[in-house]
């Protein structure tokens, strides 16, 4: 078994008995042991329950279970509640929190026979673009340990890029799957809002949060999406729909793209950025594959980042009110009154970025500011959505860069919040519109991976996956590995 085997390859190996799921899981746990000290991409591991699940998977296989997902190890971002296993959301506030239940994504993965080996590091409550906001310390980028992996799903991205796991779950509110995928040179898919249940996924901004797969290949992304997705009556915003391609994707893989697409290039996303060599080359590649590129305009793009920070912070400010020291999570020592309990528990339990967003969100929802900020932002959000609808009357998918820069140095942007927020420039518009988007490795800038983003109409992840799979058959950027992981 190779460190860089894909989920599909491991699935084939398990099927032909090249090794058992227990052996495979053991190997994954050993890799975490070796690599985590340098990368800090895991917050916790669960060897015992992972090996028990692997044993069970091997037994099921012996009894004739041939599911492609059976016995495949992977990792969960530490934002999904896992019964009897620590779930921290990267926060001191939840550093002692063990959920009494499994998130729907967690139970879906378990039901498919997949084996969670550990839980990955992340920016606190998924707020951040560098993974520097974790109570459990910064994650290192496997391509250069002095650099950040991106965020907030930085632990998942680094773990996949370093070959520790072939797949990890992530969550994306404004780019938290796609940006770290780009910065770590892997494939990340943010599905359509409502595609994957949010039940049991610790909320940052409810109208934006969406879970998705982080893998090296599009095929593996499809495999994981097929397991993660589905209607969930426990999530009122979950979409009740059946897509034949999705129902069959675990068994059949991604369909071959059998027609040329019209691919839109949003003018507002491209500039003379010296980091964009990769995506320029990708344009040529896509044309060679028979697709047509056309310029389109998404005129409200420049408002997206401020709109996003108003809305996401507003929702976060109340989503995080439940962390009050009363029922679970961090509680201050010896509270003198209810007010004191709240103030000190929250003061001690939350990090600076989380506090900044709670304050921002509380402000924008306050009497006298609500109309000027929250309501106005909602209106612009609609305009941004309409921009995309308009574009999709002309094109099948959109192509855009994922991030303006490759991975930056640790501490480089920590004092410049606006520059940090600009990391999300190309990813938040799709989040605001609830659309599916995927980041694929497309080249390097100064030896660091760069990503490109494909964006599709709602519930058309099939288009993204088919085009991505076609691209990955013609190119090998997704197969590049960092030299020295440890």
């Amino acid at each position: 078994m190779s460190e860089y085997s894909s989920l599909r390859e491991m699935s084939a190996d398990l099927a032909k008995g090249a090794y058992s799921s227990v052996e495979l899981t053991q190997a994954h746990l050993e890799r975490i042991q070796t690599a985590n000290a340098a990368l800090n991409c895991f917050i916790s591991t669960n060897a015992e329950s992972a090996l028990a699940a692997a044993t069970k998977a091997d037994q099921q296989r012996a009894q004739g279970d041939q599911r492609a997902t059976l016995g495949l190890p992977f990792a969960h971002k530490d934002i999904f509640c896992t019964r009897d296993i620590l779930t921290t959301a990267g926060s001191k506030m939840l550093s002692n929190f063990v959920a009494p239940y499994d998130a729907t994504v967690v139970s879906n993965m378990a039901a498919a026979g997949m084996i969670s080996v550990g839980k990955t590091n992340m920016d606190e409550f998924a707020m951040g673009s560098s993974n520097e906001n974790s109570f459990f310390g910064t994650v290192s980028n496997p391509w250069d340990h002095t650099r950040v992996p991106g965020g907030s799903s930085g632990g998942s991205a680094a773990a996949v890029a370093a070959g520790i796991v072939a797949g990890a779950t992530g969550t994306d509110t404004g780019g938290s799957i796609r940006q770290p995928a780009a910065l770590c040179g892997i494939t990340g898919l943010k599905p359509t809002y409502g595609r994957v249940s949010r039940y049991g996924m610790i909320a940052f901004a409810s109208s934006l949060d969406q879970a998705g797969p982080m893998t090296r290949t599009a095929e593996d992304a499809a495999l994981m999406l097929g397991v993660m997705a589905g209607f969930d009556s426990k999530d009122s915003t979950s979409a009740e729909r059946h897509d034949a391609w999705l129902d069959g994707v675990v068994a059949n893989g991604i369909a071959v793209l059998d027609r040329p697409l019209t691919i839109g290039l949003p003018r507002e996303y491209f500039s003379d950025n010296p980091n964009f060599g990769g995506i320029e080359a990708a344009k040529t590649e896509l044309e060679k594959m028979g697709h047509t590129l056309v310029d389109v305009s998404l005129p409200h793009t420049e408002s997206a980042v401020p709109v996003y920070y108003v809305l996401a912070s507003a929702e976060a400010s109340t989503n995080l009110s439940r962390y009050d020291g009363v029922r679970f999570g961090h509680r201050c020592e010896d509270p003198q009154s209810l007010q004191d309990l709240y103030e000190r528990s929250r003061e001690e339990g939350f990090g600076a970025e989380v506090k900044r967003r709670i304050l921002t969100g509380t402000y924008t929802l306050s009497v006298g500011y609500f109309d000027a900020y929250y309501l106005k932002a909602q209106k612009i959000r609609r305009l941004i959505s309409e921009d995309f609808q308009q574009a999709f009357t002309q094109v099948d998918v959109l192509l855009a860069p994922t991030s303006p820069t490759p991975a930056f140095e640790k501490n480089q942007l920590t004092d410049d919040h606006v520059a940090m927020y600009q990391q999300d420039l190309f990813t938040v518009p799709t989040s605001l519109a609830g659309l599916p988007a995927m980041s694929l490795p497309c080249g390097f800038s100064n030896g660091l991976p760069m990503g490109m983003q494909l964006i599709a109409p709602a519930f058309r992840e099939d288009l993204l996956l088919e085009l991505a799979a076609q691209y990955q058959r013609q190119t090998d950027w997704h197969l590049k590995r960092p030299e020295a992981v440890v």
Binding site: L94, S206, S236, V326, F328, V367
Partner: protein, 477 residues
């Protein structure tokens, strides 16, 4: 100077659902603390609310019952504030777009004229938990069983002008809520609570005075007392040249006074905004029509039917129609063929007295409507006299639901003797035994008729039909 009070009420009605408004936990009253608080009620990280459709049905039912506009599109908002018994740090409520819009209800205060009170709106929301401050010294205990119980908050217009009207409104709302089955109406368990907004103004002035809000009143009597007290307090303040402060006050029934809880100026900014975890609530015309079809006949319509079609007195019609159990009992008697007036008489008389005496509700009555109807039928056909009917009623009460009218008449020998031959024989024997009294009767001493009838009744243990006995004796003269 003479003063006029202006009163509006906000009534919180606990909707009679099996489970909570956003979770599957039970709403049953009286469980041990926190036994009915599930992951969602506890506000654990990651949980999400899912709307209970039953709560929506009950809210729509209320809206239809007060002739209100039902908003087919309504939105759930978060009302943000911190409190130990509010697990999420916000309450899910409806702020700008409630499910029920404007409607009306007619009230009839005791000794007052009927009047129509406007309902501004009614909206769905979740209840908070309970903080218990006196259980552990120096600590507060939190019980989250009540968390997430569905509430319908009914907001009235400031249409009431006296404490009596406010109390009548609360009563009428209680009657209606029970009538249409949206609430069990148990005030002692907090199933209906109200907040009263009270202000006073010089008589004749059109603009309102500054108001205060009295929180959390849970009995008809307290509503009246609390408002009465608050009106008097406000008049005292104003007449002494003072000013009413906008504030929240709490009524203390032990001391019969209200006292300040917190000033509204210092109150929370609730930062309402649409809850992104819940989609806007859309209800179809068909859904509304289905609920309309399930509505029972309402008190006003029933009262109308009882007086105009059945000829009951207004007081009986009001008394019976105002309580759904009583009204249903009455209608069941009619369905079993009983005469409406006699049914009403028995219900308001004997039955009410027995229910009171034995502290039993109408629905638990051991005498079911069909039995009462049978008893009435036996009066109608002459088998029972009014006296023996009461004896039978008592026997039926003791026998319970298994009681059989005809069997008991037989066993207890309650049937009137209407057989001419037997009665004539008794009369003949009495004449022979009492010749002197019979002569006096024959010579015109009418009083002696009573003597003979009495003797016959005595001989028959009261079962003889008195009219018939009279006739037989007269025939002998």
């Amino acid at each position: 100077m003479s003063w006029e009070a202006v009163i509006g009420l906000e009534i919180h009605v606990q909707l009679a659902t099996q489970s909570k408004i956003f979770s599957g936990a039970s709403t049953a009253y009286g469980a041990s603390p926190n036994a009915q608080a599930c992951n969602i009620d506890l506000g654990l990280p990651g949980v999400l609310p899912v709307l209970n459709e039953r709560a929506v049905e009950l809210a729509v039912r209320f809206g239809l019952a007060i002739g209100a506009q039902i908003n087919q599109h309504s939105i759930f908002d978060r009302k943000n504030y911190f409190y130990a018994d509010l697990p999420k740090g916000y309450q899910i409520s409806q702020f700008e777009t409630p499910i029920v819009g404007q409607g009306t209800i007619t009230i009839t205060p005791e000794n007052g004229r009927s009047r129509t009170v406007g309902i501004t709106r009614a909206h769905l929301e979740e209840d908070a938990g309970k903080s218990v401050h006196d259980l552990y010294p120096g600590m507060t205990a939190v019980d989250l069983n009540r968390t997430g119980t569905p509430l319908l908050e009914i907001v009235s217009e400031p249409d009431m002008r006296s404490a009596q009207e406010a109390s009548a409104y609360f009563r009428q709302m209680h009657t209606l809520a029970r009538y249409i089955g949206i609430c069990d109406g148990n005030l002692a368990e907090g199933s209906m609570r109200c907040d009263a907004n009270v202000s006073v103004r010089p008589s004749g002035q059109t603009e309102f005075g500054e108001r205060t809000e009295i929180k959390n009143i849970n009995s008809f009597r307290f509503v009246e007392q609390a408002i009465e007290h608050e009106i008097a307090r406000q008049i005292d303040v104003l007449e002494a040249g003072g000013k009413i402060e906008r504030e929240t006050r709490l009524y203390d029934p032990d001391k019969d006074e209200t006292r300040s809880m917190r000033s509204k100026e210092l109150s929370n900014d609730y930062r309402y905004f649409p809850d992104p975890d819940l989609l806007p609530l859309s209800i179809s015309e068909a859904f509304i029509e289905r609920i309309r079809g399930e509505l029972p006949e309402l008190p006003d319509a029933r009262q109308q039917r009882y007086t105009s079609t059945l000829g009951l007195s207004t007081s009986d019609a009001v008394a019976i129609s105002s309580d759904i159990d009583r009204a249903d009992y009455f209608d069941a008697c009619l369905a079993a063929g009983a005469d409406p007036k006699q049914s009403a008489n028995w219900m308001m008389g004997e039955l009410s007295a027995y229910l009171n005496k034995h502290d039993v509700t109408m629905t638990q009555s051991p005498i079911a409507p069909a039995l009462l109807a049978q008893l009435i039928a036996r009066i109608d056909d002459g088998t029972l006299s009014s006296k023996t009917a009461k004896t039978l009623f008592d026997a039926l009460w003791s026998a319970g639901p298994a009681g059989d009218v005809d069997e008991l008449i037989e066993t207890l020998n309650l049937a009137q003797l209407s057989d001419d031959g037997a009665l004539t024989q008794i009369v003949d024997e009495l004449i022979v035994a009492n010749p002197k009294q019979f002569d006096e009767l024959r010579s015109g001493k009418e009083k002696m008729l009573g003597f003979f009838v009495g003797q016959v009744m005595k001989a028959t243990q009261g079962k003889a039909n008195p009219q018939q006995v009279n006739q037989i004796i007269r025939d002998k003269l």
